[in-house]
Subunit: 380 residues, 2 copies
């Protein structure tokens, strides 16, 4: 099988990720931060090591400012809902995932005001359009780093600068970029960074996280046992305990650490260049096929390795079904949980066939995909 659904979750992972998870479960499967025995301490240290690795990757100073979550959606909810209060205004874009848009829509009911800045049909945003929307009560700008539908990379450093200038919190959803594109929270003025663990960070499903800059006030959504200040009935304020109630996913976090270690060893630039080259080649070849419509930038330098197409007016689910059934190629059709992005690129009815490239894809995978598309075009 050729797996080209890496934007949903990366597959496969480095062998070391599987092995470290297995070892964590089998050799030190205790509850970290609770008891003080050797096994619990070992689990606690392993989790701390993953925090440190993430700090290295994102240029974060304090490992305790990273909160582990169930997935990126969990982190986005935590940060969006913990930050915004009735009367606050938030600016976002039309290419966001439902993990940003749906929490914002829910908050509108309690009096949070949302402005969705329109991107053009290739997903590009005019940063002046963002700045123009800033009002006295604008508390937050939240944007994706790259569209999960067409890969378009947003100028997060420039948006971060606008946010800083206007004393507004800037939150980045790095679901499609963390682990492949450079993210430097300090240089880019990112106040809150949300990332999944199981996509390009190469960790397992069941992991994600949020970096929260010192001084940003976020109310926790959940309370519970934290292993700290157990004498109190109120949630402790200390980080990251405030946001990490209950038993964490130790083996998962260990696996995430193994994924990040792999990235740091191999070099994020090398990974990016590999994926970029495949994306470039794929787009070039697709352009040669009649009836294939390619969405987004059509430029590997301006997009994450996500290439979305349609074949004429064919239903995207039908094409994806054939790719899977006949050619054993795994892609994702439909709306990709991003309805406004599809309205933005005018594919709300048809959806698109999304090919998302990962670290372990090869030139041959792309060649076979091109060949498959050629055949489908011919048959239809």
């Amino acid at each position: 099988m050729i797996y080209l659904d890496n934007a949903a979750t990366s597959f496969p992972k480095p062998e070391k990720v599987y092995d470290d998870i297995y070892t964590a479960m089998k050799e030190y499967g205790a509850n970290p931060g609770r008891s003080g025995h050797k096994l619990a301490l070992k689990a606690g240290r392993a989790i701390y090591e993953t925090r440190e690795l993430l700090c290295k990757l994102f240029n974060i100073d304090n490992p305790m400012n990273i909160v582990f979550t169930y997935n990126a959606t969990d982190g986005l909810n935590l940060a969006i809902k913990g930050l915004l209060k009735p009367g606050d205004h938030v600016i976002t874009t039309s290419i966001e995932h439902n993990s940003v848009l749906r929490p914002l829509k829910a908050l509108e009911k309690i009096g949070v005001e949302t402005t969705i800045v329109q991107c053009d049909s290739r997903g590009s945003i005019n940063i002046n359009d963002i700045e123009e929307q800033i009002t006295d009560n604008t508390k937050l700008i939240v944007t994706t780093h790259a569209s999960n539908v067409i890969g378009t990379i947003l100028p997060i450093k420039e948006i971060g600068a606008i946010a800083e200038k206007n004393d507004i919190v800037y939150m980045v959803d790095a679901a499609q970029t963390a682990g492949v594109y450079d993210i430097d929270v300090k240089d880019m003025n990112i106040d809150i960074l949300v990332f999944p663990g199981h996509k390009s960070l190469l960790g397992p499903q069941g992991t994600g996280g949020v970096y929260i800059k010192e001084g940003i006030e976020i109310m926790q959504m959940k309370e519970g046992g934290t292993g700290s200040k157990s004498n109190l009935l109120i949630q402790p304020e200390m980080m990251p305990d405030k946001f990490e109630s209950g038993t964490p996913n130790t083996p998962g976090i260990v696996g995430l650490g193994a994924g990040v270690k792999y990235i740091l060893n191999r070099g994020i630039e090398n990974i990016r260049n590999h994926e970029k080259e495949l994306t470039r080649y794929f787009i070039e070849e697709l352009k040669k096929i009649d009836k294939v419509k390619i969405y987004g930038q059509c430029d590997a330098d301006k997009q994450a390795p996500v290439v979305s197409i349609n074949i004429g007016e064919e239903d995207s689910s039908e094409v994806s079904y054939i790719l899977d059934k006949v050619f054993d190629i795994a892609v994702r059709p439909g709306l990709h949980c991003a309805p406004l992005a599809h309205k933005t690129i005018d594919t709300f009815e048809q959806g698109v066939v999304r090919f998302s490239i990962g670290l372990f894809n090869t030139r041959q995978d792309i060649e076979k995909s091109v060949e498959a598309i050629r055949k489908i075009v011919k048959e239809i």
Copy 2:
């Protein structure tokens, strides 16, 4: 090492749990319920199978009424905060974990009224004391099934009957019992059952769940991509999608399924009897040692396999430290994230040394623990 911290997380797990997780990651590590390709479908089916196994264990009719969460705390917050509104009254007990008490304390700030019914010094509750507290606005009774500090089992069937009679929602925190004690949501009138995946259900950390009876209205805490109704900016109402936004922990849930399968195959009664026998033996032997104070029921038939002690006035952390350092026995000291339970048994200052027995403990483990305690008593 002798691991007696199973109330924090069970360790080890059956080999099949590790193996199934490894296989899930390696062979079908796709995102379930999103794309329609073979691998995604396989992941989706595996998750569904775990839902079915849990239904069998808890006598639940509809697998879609089980929601998977990050841990039990996540599930308790989801259910407690999604159910209660300002003006509602909730009844709970003095032996609850902070994962129940802290969310309730947080809700008091928005006008939810809480009554904490006092248990006696062994953790027993008089169910009349619960019934007496019911008022017109009582919306919920939430109790643990068994104390995580002293193991005392609460009469959940009787409490469920009171709740039903008074048309009140009954929520059970089965953190210490699911997988060892019989739980039948229909027979026991349990409307909401919250369970961790990584304790006696023998799954990995990073798993937990909530059963929500049909017709109970709970507001979701999080919104996001659900893979369903992707055209909408509002959270879908369908179960379990309403509460399962973002990528689930597929390998973890597969591991939880393997754990439940193990329990069903081995027989929950056999597991319970094994743990009960060890508990009985441990209590008997402890009673023979001078200076050892045993808390709770001191009766294996009335308590989950959790035995908490102190040695004279010795600090519980100090004793636990020696058990770990000198005897290689892992236990948990302190307050166990249950401050009111410790006030109830009058150990708020000293804490207790908690031994929690699991499926894979042996008679020899208990013998060695008794021996260690004898030696510590002698030395002190």
